[in-house]
Each structure stands twice: as structure tokens, then as C-alpha cells.
Amino acid sequence: MDLLYKIFLDPFVQMGSAPDLLVQTLWEGLVSGVLYALIALGFVLIFKASGVFNFAQGIMVVFAALTLVGLHAMLRHWGVSSGTAAAYLALALTVAVMFGLAFAIERLVLRPLVNQPDIILFMATFGMTYFLIGLGELVFGGEPKLMITDDLHLPRGAIDVKMLGGFVSFQKIDIAAAVIASIMVAVLAVFFQKTRIGRALRAVADSHKAALSVGISLEQIWVVVWFAAGIVALVTGIMWGARSNVSFALEVVALKALPVLILGGFTSIPGAIVGGVIIGVGEKLGEFYWGPLLGSGIESWLAYVIALLFLLFRPQGLFGESIIERI
């Protein structure tokens, strides 16, 4: 009885008695949800266009951030005196690196593996994961680094808002992350709906063969898609790096994008966003209000359990295309 009380009543009483804390928790959940959603977004882009379950997306985030920070340090070392100039130069170079990466992946990994079963392509992205971890650490060093927040002119500090009988603190960088994420989703939506390449992408997503038959170059589309995912990864990496350090420890957090994906469906961009927010908020609420019951750290698996429960009712995720099987 006591336990039931603790599970079903106590947390809500706490929420009601300290609404400012509730808002704070919701906000934290929302922000981490947006970041999960961004990783999931890069993933969805690739899955839609090439059917590859890209396990390396989380690593691409870290790799992009690491490249940015590493290049910035190198440029400063080589005599670029202004931090800001070095930062933007490094940003441009990182974009170039991500393009090179997309090109190399298409050439060296995807093209030779065309028409292989999904699981083989999935394993290939595992190989890429290990390769990128090794490469990133070899070139830029394995120790955690600080994101170059100031040189990129990202806002710092917090805004304290007085509301609901207390203070709620919003980190400026979090607000920026949310805004930038929304801008990016909007840009992607326009890109998909209005541009020539965007239409080609959607055609490829619908059917590879049909797209080929009307003269769309699959190779080109794949480079574009992996490049777009790389850019998304870079933005995610900057935002995430600004919240904590840049290191491959982020890898574990990047795995959180997976429950977001199964929640939202592998093929839906809105699904990735909504899924991210649900997972982020659910996880923070669970950790804060129900966590003490079980001992802390339930954050590490709560997201997966939430996603699993959803899956039992909707096997294709919230917004995924319904699965039709023919014999």
C-alpha cells in the first residue's frame, strides 16, 4: 500500500506543491529531447533515402564536434590570431570534412555494398563507427575538450524567470539550441518540399527502382543525404558540446536516439521531433520524481522501456508507415 502510494500519488503531490521545479524539469527534458531528436533526425534522413540503419550517426556527431574543436586549436596554433576568425574558418573546414566523409562513405562503403541485406549495411556502419572513433582520437587526441562557445558567439549564462512562486532558470545556450533546431527542421522541410534535389530524395525514399528509372542518380542522392546528415550532426555536436565536454563519452548518450527512433518511426521527420521530446521529458520526469524509489540512474534505461511499451501497441512507431507484408 505504501509502495503504491509512493508510485501513484507522491510524485504528483510533489509536482503540485512545487510547480517551479516541475517547469524546470520539463524544460530540461525538452532541451535534452531536442538534442536526441536532432541525432534521430540525421538518422531518419539516411534511413529514408538509402534504407541504411546508420548506427554511426551518434559518432558522426562527436566526430564533427571534435573536428571543429581540433581544427580551431590547430588554426590558433598556426598563427590565426583572432579566435572568432579561427572559429568560423574551422567551421567552414569542418563542413568540408563532413562533405569529404559523405563522399568517402558513398564511394568506399555504400557503393560496393549495394543490394546487400539490411543487416550487412548495418554492420558496415558499425565498422564506420569504430573507424571514426579511432581516426578522431588519433588526429585530435582522446581527452575531453571544451567547445569553443565564445569564439562562435554562442550565448552563455542563464535567464532566471520568476514564475509560479519560484525561479526557473533557462540556460541561454539551451534556448539557442531549441531555436536553431527549429530553424534547421524548417530548412530541411523546405528543402524536401520545394527543391529539385529534395524531390529527388523523396522519390528515392519511395522506391529506389522507380527513382532510377526516371533518371535520378542514386550515387549523387546518397552523397547529398549523408552530407545533410553530417551537417545535422555538426549542429548537434556544437549544441551538445556547449552543454558538456566534447569527447567520445557522448557515444553512450547518442544511443538514446534509438528509442526516439522507434517511438517516432524510422521514416518520419516529425516523428523524430515528437519522439525526442516525449523521450526527453519522460526520462527527466521519471528520473526526478520516480527515480529515488528505485535508486538513481534509471535514466539509462527508462527511455528504452518507454519506447518498448509504445512499440507493443504500435509496432511501426507513432508516425511510421504501417508495415504491410505480402507472401
Partner: protein, 358 residues
Amino acid sequence: MFYRETGQFKTTYQADQAVFPIRQDRIGIVIILALAFAGVPLLASEFAISSFFIPVLVFSLAAIGLNLLTGYTGLLSLGTGAFMGVGAYGCYKLATWFPGVNILILILASGFISAAVGVVFGLPSLRIKGFYLAVATLAAQFFLSWCFVRVPWLVNYNISGAIEVPTRTLFGIPVTGPNATATTRYLVTLSIVVLMTWLASNLVRGRIGRMWMAVRDMDLAAELIGIRLYRTKLLSFAVSSYYCGVAGAMMAFLWFGSSEAETFSINQSFFILFMVIIGGLGSLIGSFLGAIFISGTPIMLKAVPPLFGLSMHAATVEHLTSMILGALIIFFLIVEPHGLARLWQIGKQKLRVWPFPY
């Protein structure tokens, strides 16, 4: 010329359905077993046995476990590490409760705990499949990993939070614990692995294995010809987890001698999956080849640079190992997507027609 079944006539069904119907194969397996049981303990150093041969055997068993699930039944799982952990912690608890019972029995029994847990986490497989299922098994991985860290009861309230394997003897010789020699541990591991591989090879040749393969190839069609999907899939989860559990128990008791939660993390699951894919999906010999390849490569990479007189920083070696391993995985997938087992088969076929090209 030498490897050919010509002239070996079978007069009974029993002979025809033997595990190794060809005489040369039988001779080959006897040689391999003799090498494994007598050659390795006599010739290899203590260090080589405990850092290469025992790990390969343990990983092979885990890879067979995952292969039964992923390769034969077509259910992708990323929770192997956690199921191995259940075996290890289960065996530890059993060893605490029944100090007098033979340790071999406890290791084999701990697999059943793992099997039970596997069935519970296999329940979603009835409704979801493919990559969705893979992500669902991650729930098992993370939940169980969390349990290993947060439930002190599992390690008997040991302050270090790790399993410390007690000394257990077999015929008066210490088998587990700090006093056991590498050779003893190796021989025990080898016996268990040989026994369970033999069981698995008979399992996949029989009715159950065929049911699994039917489900893998197309589950709807399998259901239509009268295979009960629920039972088949759950059975596959149970058997697979049993193998992984025994492998985990052996890992803790016969390899490390101690074990912490980090050993059974998500990375372990990925490594076992590599072994299965590189070795070949749906092939028992492939599980062994994959295990040898994946656990041998880092050792090779560590050993090669000093041979050429290159001295490298330990961290650099580690990063290079990671890069080369990644590149090798991609390379193998491109060259032979069906894994090392397929290369093995091609080699055998070439050997049959040799010295003629056709």
C-alpha cells in the same frame, strides 16, 4: 585429390545423417580436437592460453548463442552482453548458495537463469521485428546493466561491486579462483564448449533448427505451414540466452576470475555481433572463425609494430587498432558478405575438385 567423398558408400540412414558424413572431415575434426585438448596445453605458454585461447572459446560459445538467435531464427539482438552478465551473476549467486555442488553443474545451471530472463525480454519479438526488435533488446541490455551496478545483492554486498570468484575444486584440483592454473581452466572451458557445440549442431540439424530457419526465411509462411511462431521464437530466445549465459558464467569464473558490471556492457554485445556477422550468419563454424578473428586481430595489431622496430605510444596503438578493426569489418563485408564461413566452404569446394579446375 585427397579430400573427396568418392567411394564412401553409406548403407544405413544413421551413417548418412552423421554430423560428419565424409571420412576426411572426421579425421580432420579428430586432429583439431587432439590439438585443442593435448597440443595447446603442452605447447602454448600460460600467458597465451589465458589471453588468447580461453577468450576465443568463451567468445565462440557466446557467438554460437547469438547465431542461434540472429543467424538461424533471424531475430536481431543487441542484448547479448546483458544475457552473458545474467549467467555470470547467476552462477555467482548459485555458487554462494550451494558451496558444495560441483562447479561445472553450477555453470551449466546458471544458463537456465539467463534463459528465463531471455524469454521475458523476448516477449516483444512476437509483435515487432527487424531493427525495431534490435532496439527493443537494447532495453534489456541497459536495464540489466543498470541492475548489475545498482543491486548490491547480486554481488553479495561486496564493497567493490564486483564478483570475486571463490575457489572451487574438481577431483581435488582447483578449477576456479586465484589458485587455478590457466591450463586447468582452459581444459574445463574447452570441454564445455565442445559439448555445447555438439548439442547445437544437432539442434540446428533437427526439427527445431528447421523450424527456426523457416521462421527466419519468412515468418508468415512458416506460420501457414503450421509452425507456432510464439513458441519457436521464444524457444530460440531461451536457447540463445542459455548459451550466452553459460558463456558469461565461464567468462567470469574460468577466464577473468572476477567480474564487474562494465564487462557486460553494450560494447560486449556489439563485439559478439561482429563475431557472428564476420564469421557468417547461420553457421556454427563461422562463430568460431569470427571469435578467432575478432579477438585475435587486436592482439596481432599490438604484436606487429614492435616486430618492425616501431615503438608507438600505447594510446596511438589503441586508436589505430580501433581504426583498423573498423576498416577490416567493412572490408570483409564488401569482399564476403556471407562471412568467413563462406570462405571456408569455398575452400572446401576448391579442395574437392583439386587438382582439376572443374
